[in-house]
Symmetry: C2
Subunit: 357 residues, 2 copies
């Protein structure tokens, strides 16, 4: 099988050994002589998987039982609504930072639920930087941020100190670097970047945040229901959670977040150095806010694009087309992306310059 | 690998050839040299899957473009809430039939949203029959039924003629028999019985039902949003939808619903005949309402249970323990269950009688 270098922004690359185990589980899971796709989620073999998937999140975040973890369907998009339903009171308001399309969607849903203030935004420069120096109001019900902006390639390198509960959408840089998880009241992430396949979303909530909004809501929207149900109030997305568990286990066994953080920094340094050196390409993001997950760059001349596309394809580089809002290229270099693939991309960029500059 | 006879109530048995294809797609999907678990849902290879998964539902239901089909996360449990959010007006009311735990949960969520009347119930006899002879009010916003009750083993053999839009939870007997789909305004089903693995839910809605409630709601709860997004408003449960597509394709290629209906009838007849003949077992459901999907039966003496459990296990019969609300046994004989496995169960029941009666 030809090796393809998978720079897809998401669903994104997963470790090869995880894919192999996932494939095997479709035929024979846990030596049951049954497929994981056709067994009860209440079987002891699967309950073990769910328990491990929940515990691994706490282990990797280095938090204890003051937090609860569960997995839901519906993607981060459903969390955009569940967060305000559960945390935003009828009389209070929520504070948001707008750092791109996904943050904007989170704000839109919060506004459907209740009072919402955008206290900082980088919309003025097409989201090519992370706002700083704003004040977080001490009377907000909560403060919401997006740690990494997949489309624009920006990343919060430091998190603000918040006087109110801080909520973070970590969908596109979860477990890619060390964070002080205890600074957050709630962290959520669609699995399909660093954690697993599409179809499940991880929610980690500090238990004192449960029942805060006092709102009447559908059971499936209520965090308390999912905590009480131990992530199995109803049939969970069995296979997506299993693959997430395998990926988190892979991460922990290899050395955890501290281990991957170093590798991710090396990969990002390698690629950004080439973008800055190469006369045919230019970065799109303010230097200090550059994402270590999604690396966005433009050709310095529009006519380069067709030729570079061809050269990338010839070298089995896949998924680097930039989002239509930014154009050019976006190389997503998630946890499972080996540095060798980044080197291939860098080599192709060099080769391109020597031929076309 | 030892053949296990998988009578699990759900997630339930899937066709062997589907499991094989699912396993392969985890390594190399559609000859892309990439796993299905790590490619963009916007890639042309996957858009094709989603389109086919949506079209197959319309083909198997024999409906045209007056209906739209989409796949969501969150299970049927989320639909319990989405149905009233989208169809129940602020001033109107919804009519429900209560045929068991899942119908009760649907009613509970509808009551959270608005006015809800239970117009018939079989709770008086622990849900061992399907209510009949009730009148469906002509001024309700919609009328909701559950076609098959997994826990109790009851099934609506005929659907009432409804003067108002009829909504049906078909989670546990979808595509197991011919139905006149055009009699329904909305059909939904958690995938994890006859359609695919856990993690996706199929919704088919008649387009004139869209925007009926006039309620303000979260985007992810709004059927109009998912119709407009062609089942990809946000990242869908990629792998679960793929496996559902494979299963529906398997069904269509083998002869569709008419084909499986015959086989399902043979399997049910075989097993119910044995239950009625065998002095060691007795059925739990009124004869005329017996489900062709979930066959519930009790041992005629409590002391039989331990011995029969042992004998079933020795014959690789898995997943026949009854739900705690009913006790005894429940053999789920979904579409993918071969008649040979039902025969094995029948043979074990015969053997048991000859030894212990």
């Amino acid at each position: 099988m030809t090796k393809v270098h998978n720079f897809s922004a998401g669903p994104g690359i997963l470790p090869q050994e995880v894919l192999k185990q996932a494939s095997e589980a479709c035929i024979n899971f846990d030596n049951m002589n049954l497929s994981l796709l056709e067994i009860s989620h209440r079987s002891k073999n699967y309950v073990k998987v769910m328990d491990e998937a929940r515990q691994l999140v706490k282990d990797l975040f280095e938090v204890g039982d003051e937090y609860d973890v569960f997995y839901l369907g519906g993607g981060a998009s459903l969390q955009f609504g569940m967060v305000p339903m559960n945390l935003l009171t009828e009389t209070g308001y929520a504070a948001y930072v707008n750092t791109g399309v996904w943050a904007s969607k989170a704000i839109k849903e919060a506004k459907i639920v209740g009072n919402t203030k955008v206290i900082a935004s980088s919309e003025d420069k097409k989201f090519n930087y992370i706002p700083k120096g704003y004040e977080i109001p001490a009377d907000a019900d909560y403060f919401h941020i997006t740690s990494n902006n997949t489309i624009y390639g920006t990343q919060m390198k430091q998190f603000p100190k918040s006087p109110v509960p801080m909520v973070c959408d970590m969908s596109s840089d979860l477990f890619s670097r060390r964070v002080n998880a205890k600074d957050f009241a709630l962290i959520y992430a669609g699995a399909q970047k660093n954690m697993g396949p599409a179809g499940s979303t991880m929610v980690m909530i500090r238990k004192d945040m449960l029942g805060k909004s006092g709102r009447k809501m559908l059971s499936m929207l209520d965090y308390q229901v999912h905590v009480k149900g131990e992530s199995m109030y109803n049939t969970p997305p069995v296979f997506p959670v299993y693959v997430s568990m395998l990926t988190l286990r892979w991460l922990k066994e290899h050395g955890g977040v501290a281990w991957i953080e170093k590798i991710n920094q090396q990969k990002a340094d390698l690629l950004y150095a080439e973008i800055d050196r190469n006369t045919c390409f230019t970065g799109t993001v303010v230097q200090e806010d550059r994402s270590n997950m999604n690396v966005c760059f433009l050709p310095t001349k529009p006519e380069y694009e067709a030729e570079f596309d061809k050269m990338a394809k010839a070298n089995n580089i896949d998924g680097i087309k930039g989002h239509r809002d930014v154009g050019g290229y976006r190389a997503s270099i998630y946890n499972a992306m080996p540095i060798e693939s980044v080197q291939v991309l860098v080599d192709v960029m060099k080769e391109f310059e020597s031929k076309f500059a």
